[in-house]
């Protein structure tokens, strides 16, 4: 099933068989959505950003060289999509982040949160309070399965530097989480 590997599929897309992108979409729509949802906690927006990512993958397919990992290339694009969106909607994003406590009062979010265990709900809240760059590196670590070298390629730093970023992000997350535990 070599022909169905990510890289083989993307090379086929690059070389004209654009239909193969459907298979990559089915494989990666959930992890990509999870990444965006982790960043912005908005279901509709996250789906739009997934769409934007695949749109760019299709538009820039000729740039895929096939030497590196497709997933790394895809998350590199996803990160840019996320940054571009937040650059455009800086004010809107800030408001939504600051009003996360109000959002919890909305029916749809409450329903979603009730499905999580208490621990997961608090962890999600703690993640929401992290600075954007720390949240991003933890989400990349999650969806790139802790492949720090690949994450370094995505964010433009060494593998060692990624590990330190993850360390600092986890430290801060732990502090926030412990504060939330005390207040709840």
């Amino acid at each position: 099933m070599e022909a169905l590997s990510d890289n083989a599929l993307m090379i086929a897309v690059r070389d004209g068989d654009t239909g193969r992108l459907g298979l990559l979409f089915e494989r990666y729509k959930r992890p990509l959505y999870g990444f965006f949802y982790g960043m912005n906690r908005n279901q509709e927006l996250s789906e739009d950003l997934v769409q934007n990512t695949f749109f760019r993958i299709l538009k820039y397919r000729h740039l895929f060289r096939g030497e590196g990992d497709f997933r790394t290339w895809m998350f590199h694009i996803a990160r840019n999509v996320s940054h571009d969106h937040f650059r455009k909607d800086k004010l809107k994003w800030k408001e939504s982040l600051e009003s996360w406590q109000n959002k919890l009062g909305h029916e749809e979010n409450r329903e979603g949160e009730m499905q999580l265990t208490e621990t997961n709900a608090m962890l999600s809240m703690a993640m929401d309070r992290l600075p954007q760059d720390k949240k991003e590196v933890l989400l990349l670590s999650k969806y790139q399965e802790k492949k720090y070298k690949e994450i370094g390629e995505i964010i433009g730093c060494s593998e060692g530097a990624v590990k330190v970023k993850v360390f600092r992000a986890l430290q801060e997350l732990k502090v926030i989480y412990q504060q939330l535990e005390k207040t709840m």
Binding site: L21, L116, F167
Partner: protein, 258 residues
């Protein structure tokens, strides 16, 4: 730094007793690869918890939008606008309907204009390729219903590519849902005239634990008179865990073959 000093520092961190300068030291060691994040117990636990947090499910609308975009892109690639592809909401999972529309479209064109043979062949190939892509995409889905639809897409395909048969065998041997595996076996049956497919079907016998699939394979091999399957079925007969009903069915099929 010596290894025992590093170990002491890690132990101190795990007990929550490090001061800021020691944490900085730890960061340097992490960057150099002398300390792994997994050694820092509380952080490792937190990271594991983070992995377990799931995001909400995606909507069908997201799929619709993506496939609409893909179809639009494919339309740009084909120079002919002789047929227009229906939107994705028709295609998945109602591909048969869409394919019928396309077939009707170019069949109509065939009768109405001269010299359509090459167009028809081209479009037939495109439809087959699209069906294949759909099938492979649906096989990746979590829902057993979608995987069943994937397998059903091969019906009506006169010829299938190696990719499709490989995907069907992968499904037959590995899908967690028995119904999907049975459907995969049924989908492979028309192609069992091919020697390679037949050989692979024989190999599949030893990989099945479900009595339903074992019986279905026994029936198929009996129908095909595939004597090479006898040895594989013999192993199942000798297995104490095999239910009596399955053993009886297999013996019936073997009797037909030998």
């Amino acid at each position: 730094m010596e290894q025992n000093k590093i170990d002491e520092l890690v132990a101190k961190y795990n007990e929550g007793l490090t001061d800021p300068s020691e944490v900085q030291q730890l960061e340097r060691l992490i960057e150099e690869g002398m300390v792994e994040l997994t050694q820092l117990r509380s952080l490792d636990r937190l990271e594991e918890q983070l992995l377990a947090v799931e995001s909400p499910a995606t909507s069908l609308a997201m799929d619709d939008k993506f496939y609409a975009m893909l179809i639009k892109e494919k339309k740009k690639e084909t120079t002919s606008d002789f047929f227009s592809m229906p939107s994705w909401s028709w295609l998945a999972p109602r591909l048969a309907f869409s394919v019928a529309l396309i077939v009707a479209g170019f069949a109509g064109g065939y009768f109405s204009t001269a010299n359509q043979t090459s167009n028809v062949e081209q479009l037939t190939a495109q439809v087959a390729a699209l069906k294949e892509t759909m099938m492979l995409a649906l096989l990746e889905k979590e829902s057993a219903t979608d995987r069943l639809k994937a397998v059903s897409l091969t019906s009506g395909m006169d010829q299938v590519s190696q990719k499709v048969t490989a995907a069907l065998f992968q499904t037959l041997n590995n899908d967690p849902n028995v119904n999907v595996r049975l459907a995969a076996l049924e989908a492979l049956t028309p192609y069992s005239k091919d020697g390679k497919v037949r050989a692979e079907l024989v190999r599949a016998i030893g990989r099945q634990e479900s009595p339903f699939v074992q019986v279905a394979l026994a029936e198929l091999m009996g129908m095909l008179q595939e004597k090479k399957s006898v040895m594989e079925f013999d192993k199942i007969l000798k297995d104490e865990r095999t239910p009596v009903e399955v053993k009886n069915k297999i013996k019936e099929s073997i009797n037909v073959m030998i």
